[in-house]
Symmetry: C2
Subunit: 225 residues, 2 copies
């Protein structure tokens, strides 16, 4: 059995790669170079794919700076810094990239169909201050219908299924799951900023640091602040 | 009012650009260089966008040869040639590119949201021997739900709507509509093969030629055969 796993190189998607393996799937990873501000996450994606022993790792390149619209693809928009977790959850943040998960899942669907995979795994998470519209269960259900109706496999009664093992987990629970699965956190990258070391103050760093702290654990990666 | 129009440079999408204009929209075209065998269609897309006077034309590049799976992205798979129209309609053809319209619509959605567009136009067609799963009304409805749930605009009650003005038209009716709208057919490109001139024998050429012939009209582009 084969599964395609969306792998950004962060905590969540890295955990999902290891989950797919214990679920008994041959893992095919897919990552995206969309000229995101934090492209160094791709180095983490490569390292995790290698550490986990995936069968194949596809990196798809395109340029979402062409229309910007997000702090992750337009350097003229400042990243939020130093926000507390309550603040993060109140609105759809400026780090939202229009249609990003839809684009990612579409490529994963094409890849999955071309290798006759049964599943696509994605590490979306609908709790813990994620304001993103394309991380919620109703959105995933809608994409599932697209997977069923938009492909040859689906029309032949054999749809590729979307699996979201983290969707209802808190960040602390994801870390606990990853610890159980042996995810090498030191290889992962979460920071939105483009620095050599994680900034420690963007939303993504703060969420990660808060979760490790709540568990009384040390995050093994270095931070600038 | 703004609309994003998926423009391949063929008869159908070119007609849709002109339809969007008469519908009163400012036209923003989007085309894709996915290393398709018939990349010269992009020259037609550029020419049509210019002739129609679109506000902006985005060309997004990525490489679907990475996993192949289609006669349009894998040169080792032969294109069907010389098939009659009945044959074409019986199965999903080998020119089917896994998840292609889903990928295209996803990018169109991101572009539309970044410019605050109200509509995305796509020239899909569910009649006339199109065996493609991602050209059918139920698929488009599923994508519409994704458009609604996967975006900030949609979540705020202002979804971007997918318009498919050609979905129930026969190829002959599309040509009649395009004639009424003044589409410059001489600028369009339909052939799937990679030659300098349209081959005249691939499914796409045969469907086009048959429609012009049925109307007693001359297709203004040159053909090799």
């Amino acid at each position: 059995m084969k599964a395609v796993i969306l792998l950004s190189g962060g905590l969540d998607s890295s955990t999902v790669v290891y989950q797919a393996l214990v679920d008994g799937y041959q893992a095919y990873a897919i990552s995206f170079d969309y000229q995101q501000r934090h492209r160094q996450e791709l180095q983490s994606a490569l390292a995790i794919a290698k550490a986990a022993g995936v069968v194949e790792h596809q990196v798809i390149s395109f340029d979402l700076r062409q229309w910007g619209g997000s702090a992750l693809t337009d350097n003229s928009i400042d990243l939020p810094q130093g926000r507390d977790l309550e603040e993060m959850g109140q609105n759809i943040p400026i780090t939202y990239v229009p249609a990003r998960n839809t684009i990612f899942l579409s490529f994963a669907l094409g890849y999955a169909e071309s290798i006759n995979a049964q599943r696509v795994y994605i590490g979306v998470n609908a709790v813990d201050y994620s304001g993103y519209p394309d991380c919620r269960p109703d959105y995933i259900q809608a994409m599932q219908e697209v997977f069923r109706l938009g492909t040859k496999q689906g029309r032949e009664g054999n749809p590729i299924n979307i699996h979201t093992p983290l969707i209802n987990l808190k960040k602390t629970e994801i870390i606990q799951l990853g610890n159980k699965l042996g995810v090498p956190w030191e290889l992962t990258w979460s920071c939105y900023a483009g620095g050599d070391v994680a900034c420690g103050i963007c939303d993504s760093c703060r969420l990660r640091l808060a979760a490790f702290a709540e568990l009384g654990l040390q995050d093994p990666i270095p931070y600038a602040k």
